[in-house]
Amino acid sequence: MTRLIRTWAPTATVAALVTALVTGCGGGDPPVAGSGEPEGAPTTKGSFTAVVSFGDSLSDAGAYAPATSLAGNGSAPYFGGKFTANSATAKVWVENLASTMGLLVTPAEVGFGTSSVKCPAAANPALAATCTAYGQGGSRVTDPNGIGRSGGALTVPMKTQIANHLARFTSFKAGDLILVWGGNNDAFVQFGAFSEAAQRIQTDAAAGRLTADQANLALFQAQNTGQAAMKAAALELAAYVKTEILAKGGRYVVVMNLPDSAFTPFGSTLPANVKPVLSAMVDTFNLWLKEGLTGLPVKLMDQNAAGKDVYANPARFGITNNTVPTCDAAKIAAITRGGVTDGSSLFCNSTPGVPFNGIRTGADVNTWQFADGVHPTPGGHKVISDFVTQQLKSYGWL
């Protein structure tokens, strides 16, 4: 017996140990955030009765038109109102998409400064259900202090946009095509904060108050602070999708990630060492948005990749110029009597021959991509709505 154990026990021990080491404790790679996918979105055609859009200036169907009142008192007629080259026929992508689907979508709220009207289209009772374009220029995901708010922009954050929809319609309907696309302004706010911090840090470094390493560390931390805020905003947006849209009846839900604003005329003006920080803000948001939506029954549409594709291959999309804004900042400054000096397309009108035409001489709002530093022309918006339509078809929804 002893003899048997002598020869057998150690071998068995070794075998057991090796088994324990190799299989029992292996573990596998640590989880990497953002490597999962949304799952379980519908695969069948929708019977759509409404396009419900939440977002920012890219999806703004004219919320701030009163700021462009020709009379200057907030009353119609307006010479601008959308963040594109405005005209009687200029449409943003949400409007294009709705019209492709045989639907109409109108702004959920129109106003500027202290006065605004919810669902102005409801003045015609037949249109009372069309005011589901919630996007507003400057809006952020959660923070009501959007870009331009101090100047009168409403900047209702997406969180409140969704709450407003629920307040008006009680719930989401199976016939709603729900489009969620925001966070760009969070990226701009964080990028702005980084840029201010970077200037201070560089000034201190130049004056010898910081060593090169200390300055680099401070820059890293300033960037990381912005990235942390982008992470928070993305996870908040994903949570709203889950608890305020999906849990409240939303069935056909598209969430779009952020395009990289480094690939715009504004982005091209940024110094080479700063531009990647803007991209990092966007990419951080997109990473955590994907993480937050993992396993949820939505479609995550990759506007980031689509935007880069258009920027790299403009001709394929009928674009002949993607570097110069069609709106002329000097003309807009003159039209607004010096009130708007940044060339914002909100105040840009492309109607030929009118005194308030703000288009750069020789520019074409259908073949030039950008109206101002970051916003598309109607031609640029058509590229977006074409992409969205094609994607929706690929989902089997249209």
Partner: protein, 217 residues
């Protein structure tokens, strides 16, 4: 399910170990305990550190560590033994290098790294000097990983080949001194999650230098 299996395996292992120990007195001097100091020269190399907002050329290097080492060896045949080597888990520190060198120390962790080796001992029982070589498996688990930057750091467990060469010097029938040099193949994927997600694969390639005393029974 998985952990149950592993618990059961561990229990079986404990039972077997107990059995071995219980039987020990009848085996004359075929078991050895060693205790000593060990120096881990991390000698690490990584494929760089990548992540959103991390500039190209970012990297990190793992510092050296010194700790106590214990080994238990049982003779299975003349000249052949099976040895389990366990060190008191040392604190290892990673320092940022390359384009992010200004970050300084970026993480600390402890590595629990048992190594099981099959040794061949040259010479014969009773020789004063007995060199040995061994080849086996190292298992490394990283615990308590933390970062001064607040990242949630996870490292994959590593299983890899290990080998060593050593020399035993007998002071008496039971007691002696030893010195050894070892190498192990320790590779781990690192994921550090904060505002962004940092990833790296670190090839630790540790070299170990150990020396101490042994007792045969």
């Amino acid at each position: 399910m998985h952990s149950n299996t592993s618990i059961r395996t561990s229990l079986a292992l404990l039972a077997l170990s107990a059995l071995c120990l219980a039987q020990a007195p009848v085996w004359a001097q075929n078991q050895t305990l060693k205790v000593g100091g060990i120096r881990y020269d991390a000698h690490s190399k990584s494929n760089g550190v990548t992540g959103i907002g991390i500039p190209p050329g970012a990297d990190a290097t793992v510092g050296d560590a010194t700790t106590l080492v214990f080994t238990y060896e049982i003779e299975v045949k003349p000249n052949v033994g099976i040895e389990l080597v366990i060190g008191v888990p040392p604190k290892i520190k990673a320092q940022a290098t390359g384009s992010v060198a200004f970050l300084g120390e970026v993480l600390t962790a402890r590595n629990v790294a048992p190594t099981l080796l099959v040794n061949y001992h040259f010479g014969q029982k009773g020789d004063a000097l007995r060199p040995y070589v061994g080849l086996g498996i190292n298992y490394t688990k990283f615990t308590g990983a933390s970062s001064p930057y607040g990242w949630d750091v996870k490292l994959r467990d590593s299983v890899g080949l290990a080998g060593h060469v050593g020399l035993d010097y007998a002071l008496s029938k039971d007691w002696g001194l030893f010195a050894s040099f070892g190498m192990a193949n320790v590779k781990s994927k690192l994921v550090a999650t904060g505002a962004t997600v940092l990833q790296s694969t670190i090839d630790f390639r540790p070299r170990t230098y150990a020396a101490g005393a042994y007792f045969k029974f």
